[in-house]
Amino acid sequence: LPVTVGAARPVTEGYTALWDESLLIEKARLGDEAAFAAIYEHYEKPIYAFIYRLMGNAEDAFDLTQDVFLKAFKALSRTTPDLNLSAWLHRIASNACMDVLRRRKIVRWLPWDPTEHANITPAHVEDEPEYNVEQHEIQHQVQRTLNRMSEKYRLCLVLREYQEMSCDEIADVIKVSRSAVKSLLFRAREQFREIYTDLEERGWPDEEDKTRTRTRKGGQGK
């Protein structure tokens, strides 16, 4: 059996070329907008993609990525010089996503409204000619599996397998010990497998996941 050990390697896809991060942080900390723009440039795509995969849609990815960078710009002056920028930005993003996901979870317990899905079913995106049907279908299934995972496991798995962070880096992002990360990853993989197999057996539902239900301020609907 070819057993390969997954070595921790930094993710590079989506990042801009090498740059002088510490200098830019220092300038941005003093309020230099251009330096912050360079930081934004470097991290925009990875953070956007990360949030997109956690939340499962472009709408949330837009809103939350925007929030993350504005929070970061505001908070940068209060950071220490030894700041690990990548971990810090991922932490802000993780917290923002977890907040929203947890808030939404509350309303999932509301009574099922049969009219809710009656009118709207997803379009067949696959019918676009320029589009790779196979890979899209699998991506869609992977994303739907992620959407059904518990937030914490989803977060760990996405950081490890999509953002390609090491256990050490994940520990730094979510502020738990390295051994806790190992344990979380094991449970996350098991949960992914379980949900995926279950959906596979029952047949993939036709409808999109309803992951965007939001509570309105001060109420939970009916």
Binding site: L1, V3, T4, V5, G6, G14, T16, A34, F36, A37, A38, Y40, E41, K45, A49, N57, A58, E59, A61, F62, D63, Q66, F69, L70, F73, K74, D113, T121, P122, A123, H124, E126, D127, E128, P129, E130, Y131, V133, E134, I138, Q139, Q141, V142, V158, E161, Y162, C167, K182, L185, F186, R189, R193, Y196, E207, E208, R212, R216, K217, G221, K222
Partner: protein, 534 residues
Amino acid sequence: MSAGCERYQPLLSAMLDGETTEQENRLVRQHLQTCEDCRRTYESYRGIRTQLRRLTRPNPPVELRRSVMRQIHGGAFLRYRPRQSFSFGVAALVVITLMVLLAGTLITLVVFNRPTSFDVAEVAATSDRVTIRFNMEVDQKAVESLGSSLFSLTDAQGRSLEYELKVIDKQTVVLEPKAPLEPGQMVKVEAAASIPNKNGTVMPQKHVESKVVAPATTTARPTATSTTVVVAQVPTVTPAPTSVSVTTTLTTVVTSTTIAVTPTITPTVTVTTTVAATPTITPDVTLTPTPVVTTTTTPVITSTTAVTGTATVTPQTPTPGGSPGTTPTPATTAADCQIPAAVSFARILNGNQELLSRLGCPNSREVNISLLYQPYEKGFMLFYNNTVYVLAGNNTWRSFGGVNTTVTPVVSAVVTSATPEVTASPTVTSTVTSPTGKTPVLSPAVAPAQVATATPTPNNFGCNVVPGSSFIQVWRNNAEVRNLLGCPLSPTVSVATIAQTFRGGQMISNPQDVLGRRIYTLFTPDTYRVFVEQ
């Protein structure tokens, strides 16, 4: 599965992460040689890795960058939080129905804040020019003669970019790159320390600034007849430490023209609000060296639906049921409904009584949809819920339901292996095969026309861009639709987004529209409005 497997499974996971010791690795390998179940588990963990790493990395919409940069610029972010304050009802947002008669009408509000030392005040980069503005008058002749030795323009990789230098006025220099810059690209602009000014002194230190290149001009779709309601947020301006306060007058627009409004606030130097009546926006900022100039336009109110207010405001919670003095419309703020409107829809609904009364409350919560979108010369087409929506330039929409998409046979051929996901190994390039062993028919080489219809010779009616395959049938078979829409302007875009049905219509968000995030509001039976987030 043997009893010992449970002990091994966490180790299998840890091994994949390189988190096991040599001794553990040996133990695991020995166990794997004899245990089929654990081998499968390990392979499935690897399959998860493979598939997650194969997930595409979606490109952020250009509007995201613009939005973030706009908000951090000049510290405006401290006061402008769109998620909290982007409420159309609060007095912070003033909406005026304004008939803009003159093309390119420019409203410039200038706050002048006299600087203390000679320096670059502002750098702006668009694809065709980099504009450098100084806070004092420069020695024009000297700058012209010293030419490009005073400035440098480099790309993100540090490569020098050729440009032509032009002194525009006493305080403004423009570098026109020989090759146009890419919007979204990062450029570094340097102004040398020795630049002489009018007072005979020189700039004490060099100025270096990196800029993200903006598009040269924002050109609206040529749907001159579509009623695009642009509701621009008027930023709340509070005094920054270095600036005086600004009274901003409202913006905005309902006309029979597509209008985009870009309020730019630069508290340290200038504040410019540009309202252009034509589809072209001139983003130039005029710097007027007078202490404080406030230009106020008197809005022409042409509709009773207009909501007015002032720009100096504190957010105000909508009062349920309305308060005395406000519109006597019964009940409706979005918050009165039992089922809440999606946050981005509520931003538009709150305070917009006309919209609220036409749409009513949501029938159900918003749902995730995959939206296909294609812009046309005179309108656009949307596809979701198996329905094609034609949004025509005459402000009406119609739908064509039950569109028989051509994918069906292909889709049914997609997932056939029992567990393609968990059995995948990193060396397998495709985990799915069709039952017939054929490659799926849809490939970029196949013309959409051939895919969509049985017509042997596709008729594109002289259009260069072909309608997307979801749209082509409707477009081809209905001369009226073709007349209403014209030719497609660009290929179909697919986006994961949200939609919500209301008693009197539906709202659909499109975060990746060419001009930024748009919200389509389709009223029953056949009219629509579009809101653009600014």
